[in-house]
């Protein structure tokens, strides 16, 4: 089953490698992963689309949550979710095919963002289903290049709030001292 997982992470260098590395190390397959900053410059948000039964996804969530740089993990699957993906499509087009392509573009409310005598570039935004359907209709034409951002998702009702920073007060060497006392007791 396909799962949509939203992950809030510290906007540090190397965090993406940690998350991606976790998936490969544990043998989880990722369909897509999209990442970008949020309104809080210290926090990034990832949307991970992964396949797996509930047990595997349960492990993915727990393993992600265990990473020090991960702030919050939420499985959005089954919620009322807005899912979007942006795709750029470069397609070979001449006077003969241009009208037919335009017809598909209009049907999907896509946009032409660049035209040259030999080709045109289309921008389309939508759910995975819409994008796949449009690509299917364009397949008979001369598809040259396709680039997809990967899906991003936001719950209509669920809100992922960034929790406030939790402060830990430590006396000098507290970690060592605390254990020291205990080990002396025995």
């Amino acid at each position: 089953m396909k799962h949509t997982v939203a992950v809030l992470v510290e906007n540090h260098f190397g965090v993406l490698a940690r998350v991606a590395g976790l998936f490969s190390a544990r043998g989880f397959n990722i369909d897509s992963l999209a990442v970008g900053a949020t309104h809080d410059p210290e926090v990034s948000r990832m949307t991970v689309i992964a396949q797996g039964d509930d047990k595997i996804v349960d492990q993915i969530m727990k393993q992600l949550a265990k990473l020090v740089d991960v702030i919050h993990v939420e499985d959005l699957t089954g919620n009322d979710v807005i899912e979007r993906e942006l795709v750029l499509i470069k397609i070979g087009a001449n006077a003969e095919s241009r009208n037919d392509i335009m017809h598909v573009v209009n049907t999907f409310r896509a946009k032409i963002v660049d035209v040259s005598p030999e080709n045109m570039t289309i921008e389309v935004t939508g759910s995975e289903g819409k994008v796949d359907a449009m690509l299917e209709l364009l397949r008979p034409f001369d598809l040259r290049e396709v680039v997809r951002t990967g899906q991003i998702a936001m719950g209509r009702r669920v809100e992922l709030k960034t929790p406030a920073k939790r402060t830990v007060k430590l006396a000098p060497g507290q970690a060592a001292a605390k254990r020291n006392k205990k080990s002396k007791k025995k």
């Binding site: 510290e10 265990k66 920073k165 000098p172 970690a175 254990r179 080990s183």
Partner: protein, 561 residues
Amino acid sequence: MKLTGAQILIKCLEMEGVEHIFGLPGGVILPTYDVLYDSKIKLILTKHEQGATHMADGYARATGRPGVCIVTSGPAATNTVTGLATAYMDSVPMVCITGQVATTAIGSDAFQEADVLGITRPVTKHNYLVKDVKDLARIVREAFYIATSGKPGPVLIDFPVDVSRAKTDFVYPKELSFRGYAPEREPEDCEAQIQKAAALIMAAKQPCLYVGGGATASNAEQEVRAFVEKTGIPITTTLLGLGVFPETHESSLRMLGMHGTHYANYSVQNCDVLIAVGARFDDRVTGNISKFATKAKIIHIDIDPSAIAKTVRVDVAVVSDVKKAITRLGRQVNDRRGEIREWLEQIAEWKKKFPLKYDTKAKKILQEHVIDKIGELTRHQAIVVTGVGQHQMWTAQWYRFEKPRTMLTSGGLGTMGYGLPATIGAQLGCPGSTVVCIEGDGSFQMTMTELATAAAYKVPIKVFILDNGYYGMVRQWQELFYKRRYSGSVIGPTNPDFVKLVESYGILALRMKTPKDVVPMIKKALAHKGPVVVHCVVAPESNVYPMVPAGNALDQIMDMA
């Protein structure tokens, strides 16, 4: 006053209460070693970086305090990987600092450069690259906090040489802040889960406790003991849980798993409520997972949410520090001895029928015999460190541990060569204790270079090399499952003369050859004031039993004829 990065690092380590640093110097870590030269922290110079990490690991397991190593970049850093992975698998708190080429050279394939952050990411709890000297003090504090809190583990700090030379005002952070990392946070339903667990225990007719290394990490030995003595519920421990509960106690079922006792494995397989405490259902513990404790409701207490339901189904999950959880659970249950009398009688019968045994009349020295006598002669109070293999399992079976943090062994990763360096680390951390190393000839030779370290610092460790001339556990599997085809497991003909080897380091070497040597030689070794190595020539083809072959259910046990 402005300090250099190297000065800040050493100052932070001093303020963390670090007393020993294990490691060896090299190019880019020189500024740090230069500052260390004037510090009150004692440098233990090792002969190999893997040794440094195992020493820090042994130090941490024996004392409960984080072990620290400082090594240089590139090959030194890659040499720490085995030690980090060993500590990571067994949740041992460690802070490892690796030198790195200058930030301006990172990514240029500079001399002794390696992507240490990338290489160590899967084998550390967390790791850092210090890019700005201003972040250094905070990073060091965070590293110690992360290494020792929650489920402990190793943390690595990659420390570029230019950052170690750069200067800044030293401000020691009094507090740290995290958005995500909250190791002490308990889920909201924790109390409800504890109540559910208590209800299950109170209704159980055949309950069994299964306790692992999490109880040691949480220093919960008194609480676990109070729980057992209050309720009368029998208790088995994992390899890493050995010592949390005295094995000489009547409620102890001793170790379970592949080489566990019959009665521990039968108890787990036949119980109706299994209370797993700080344990993670490792495959060496459960045997065939689909046939594991099929009649039982499973209660799982663990600080790590990801340990829960990872391999087995769990009926009640308590995500909490073991010490806290077992204390709270203990308040909600009472003496069960009356209700579970038949169960206890059944277990007593198994204990009587299937004791651990070895041939006391054997003509050659048996490893069990040596370990049994070491246990007696140290009154089960020594800190025992093992390598990995047959001798490790026999140590688990025959020493009879009574105190926590006295069995130090690489359980999760199974790192051969762990023994000698970890013994040195443990002895340095516990100078007043007898620290015994039990190694095999194969495992010992993986890190025996650290004999030089034991000699240099006159660390009074007692090392027993149980030499059967084979990679014994490999040979055992080949005997049982590969028609005695000893492919790659014969090492006797090329073993060194261990006595001569040890003597060349200026360390006392003894040898035992026949069963009558066993007791006198152990006594002689224990009485020696400095380091000593005893070469024990043991029966070459002897197998560890009981044994649950991989893939079998836990109660399908092979035993000696």
